[in-house]
């Protein structure tokens, strides 16, 4: 456009650079902190010249926080949630969009009621549920005053309910978070934009429902799946309250929770250099995923709005 706004243009760039710096500052600062020895990091103010202790601190964080184990757990949890959600919702959305059956509406509504409800609001009962998957049966037992039976089992070393607890287990970390309608909703929205003629053409070509799903729908959903992989991976990786509750065994703890152990606490010296190194390590995987898969991530984020 023929428009001369030199001052505005300059301001634009100045503020942009400022904005980026402000947004990036915590990380830059953490990066510097992670390179300093403990003496420097506890100086006030902390020097802004990077030190040479980066690897040392990284190693300290790694060992102290048992990050190897925890990153693995985080990875398993995040991938599990991602894969679980995507598979469950692909099937669900396919069923809802491409079939007409009596309970479809009920299925649809009941699934979508969960759309906005994060695990945090139903945390307590979900925890109970995960603690004892047989909860429903147990409550029946209680109702019929058969509690003594359970006690008998319990004291006689025959653990019936024990096996069904999801505490401190990968399924426990993963399954309750798979119960969310967001992915199903997004896939449904996407399927609705696929021209019906494509389905009709496939039908005329003699494709069955599952053939259509496998050969047409799935390949077409590739980018959407990629987008959701990014979003759900980040979501899974960053979970906090749920893993905090469901894991008590340090071997099952996820990295974001485990970081707690390297933040300086009342008993400790202020090893902020190590804490920052640990934070950087733990945030790295999802940040990389987002940066490298930006295109899909943005698509996935922005599309649901439409």
């Amino acid at each position: 456009m023929v428009e001369k706004t030199p001052i505005l243009d300059t301001l634009t760039y100045v503020f942009l650079i400022l904005g980026i710096l402000i947004v990036g500052f915590p990380i830059i600062y953490a990066l510097i902190a992670a390179t300093l020895p403990i003496e420097d990091v506890s100086r006030v103010p902390m020097p802004l010249i990077p030190g040479d202790q980066f690897l040392v601190n990284m190693k300290a964080a790694w060992v102290k926080g048992d990050l190897g184990t925890q990153l693995t757990n985080s990875f398993i949890m995040a991938s599990g949630i991602t894969i679980g959600k995507i598979i469950v919702s692909l099937f669900g959305a396919f069923s809802i969009v491409y079939f007409d059956y009596r309970l479809r509406k009920i299925a649809f509504v009941s699934v979508f009621c969960t759309l906005m409800l994060p695990v945090e609001v139903r945390i307590l009962p979900t925890y109970e549920m995960a603690a004892n998957l047989l909860g429903p049966i147990q409550s029946l037992v209680d109702l019929l005053h058969l509690g003594w039976l359970m006690d008998w089992f319990a004291t006689h070393d025959i653990s019936v309910t024990l096996e069904l607890s999801l505490l401190d287990s990968y399924p426990g970390l993963i399954l309750p978070l798979v119960a969310s309608a967001t992915c199903t909703f997004l896939f449904r929205q996407f399927f609705l934009t696929i021209p019906e003629e494509l389905c009709e053409a496939a039908k005329m070509d003699g494709a069955s429902a599952m053939t259509f799903f496998r050969k047409i729908l799935l390949p077409l959903s590739k980018t959407n799946i990629a987008a959701l992989v990014v979003i759900e991976f980040v979501y899974g990786w960053n979970q906090y309250l749920w893993p905090l509750l469901i894991t008590t065994n340090p071997k099952m703890m996820t990295a974001v929770i485990g970081l707690q152990n390297i933040i300086p606490q009342a008993d400790d010296l202020p090893f902020w250099n190590v804490a920052m190194a640990g934070s950087l390590i733990v945030m790295l995987p999802p940040v990389l995923v987002v940066l490298f898969m930006q295109r899909w991530f943005v698509k996935g984020l922005v599309d649901p709005e439409k």
Binding site: M1, E3, T5, L8, D9, F15, G19, I20, V23, G24, P26, Y29, V44, P45, I87, F91, G92, I96, F99, Y101, L103, A107, V111, L115, M116, L117, P118, E120, V121, R122, L124, P125, T126, E128, M129, L175, V178, A179, C199, M210, N238, Y240, L241, I257, L259, Q260, I263, W272, A275, M276, S279, M283, P286, V287, V289, V290, L291, V298, L301, V302
Partner: protein, 296 residues
């Protein structure tokens, strides 16, 4: 909406929807029902002595000034977090939208905080804002002469958790605003320019009104975020303190339920939260229906 080209099959659709329904029933409906029941029970921490008390837990909550205060705190916290992150996101997006040539670069530089866990955001900012050695804290103390001490002062702690929470949401909002702006037909902006509107005018009179659906959507999403996902921020930074001044609702659920072991009250709080979310969701869908149309 129903597709007209459908497959007919007796069992397949049920089979396909089964995993979803199963997961939803087990980890949503059953717990939700349980939560509802629990909210009317009084129970010891071990669940061995329970009695049914109807709505006592709710009554207790709503007569408890601390719970009411927690509602207020949550309101202030969510409101401030949403307003801060949305306005900053909008501001940066508007700038980036002007800087056409480097838009992609800017996006890359701004997008990553989205991937940072709230808990980690809490740690990073705690390090910056800690009263004894945080740089930002130091700057605040030196330049503004404020006695910055979030360990002691509730308002400081509130500012601190808001900063940490808003920070990582900026990138989320930024992405939506940029996309929203790109969806506005350029011809509209051009038409306004020909009508004689300055860049500011165009922003106020055209861009902003047309972004209102995005704005509303982000409002809802940010509020949900600050209601729930910020748990990690609170937990790492203040544990609800000092003096309960950052004890937002979801943290209180955790504190009363898992630390205080008062399951009845905690469940009642969950039920209240659930109702809030359901209302927000309904509102959201109502509004989305009436979305402004760009062209036809």
């Amino acid at each position: 909406m129903i597709k007209r080209s459908i497959f007919s099959n007796k069992y397949l659709p049920y089979l396909l929807i089964l995993p979803q329904v199963l997961v939803t029933l087990t980890f949503f409906y059953w717990p939700a029902l349980n939560g509802l029941i629990n909210s009317m029970l009084l129970s010891d921490p071990f669940g061995l002595h329970t009695s049914f008390v109807w709505f006592d837990n709710f009554v207790d909550l709503f007569t408890d000034p601390l719970y009411l205060k927690s509602i207020g705190i949550t309101g202030v916290f969510s409101g401030a977090t949403a307003v801060t992150s949305i306005s900053l996101g909008l501001f940066i997006a508007t700038l980036a939208n002007r800087a056409c040539k480097v838009k992609a670069v800017i996006r890359t530089m701004l997008i990553w905080p989205y991937a940072v866990a709230p808990a980690i955001s809490g740690i990073l900012w705690l390090f910056l804002l800690h009263p004894s050695y945080g740089v930002v804290a130091l700057i605040i103390k030196k330049t503004f002469g404020v006695d910055w001490n979030p360990v002691l002062h509730g308002s400081d702690a509130m500012v601190m958790v808001i900063m940490a929470s808003a920070w990582k949401e900026i990138s989320y909002n930024f992405v939506f605003f940029i996309a929203g702006m790109q969806a506005i037909p350029t011809s509209l902006i051009e038409a306004a320019a020909m009508d004689g509107a300055s860049p500011f005018r165009r922003f106020w009179n055209i861009t902003l009104p047309l972004l209102s659906p995005t704005l509303f959507f982000l409002m809802v999403m940010n509020i949900i975020y600050s209601f729930f996902e910020t748990f990690g921020v609170i937990h790492t930074m203040t544990q609800g303190g000092p003096g309960g001044s950052t004890n937002i609702l979801v943290y209180k659920v955790y504190q009363d339920g898992f630390i205080g072991l008062n399951l009845g009250s905690s469940s009642a709080q969950s039920v209240i939260l659930m109702s809030i979310i359901i209302i927000v969701t309904i509102l959201q869908f109502k509004y989305v229906e009436k979305k402004v149309q760009y062209t036809g």
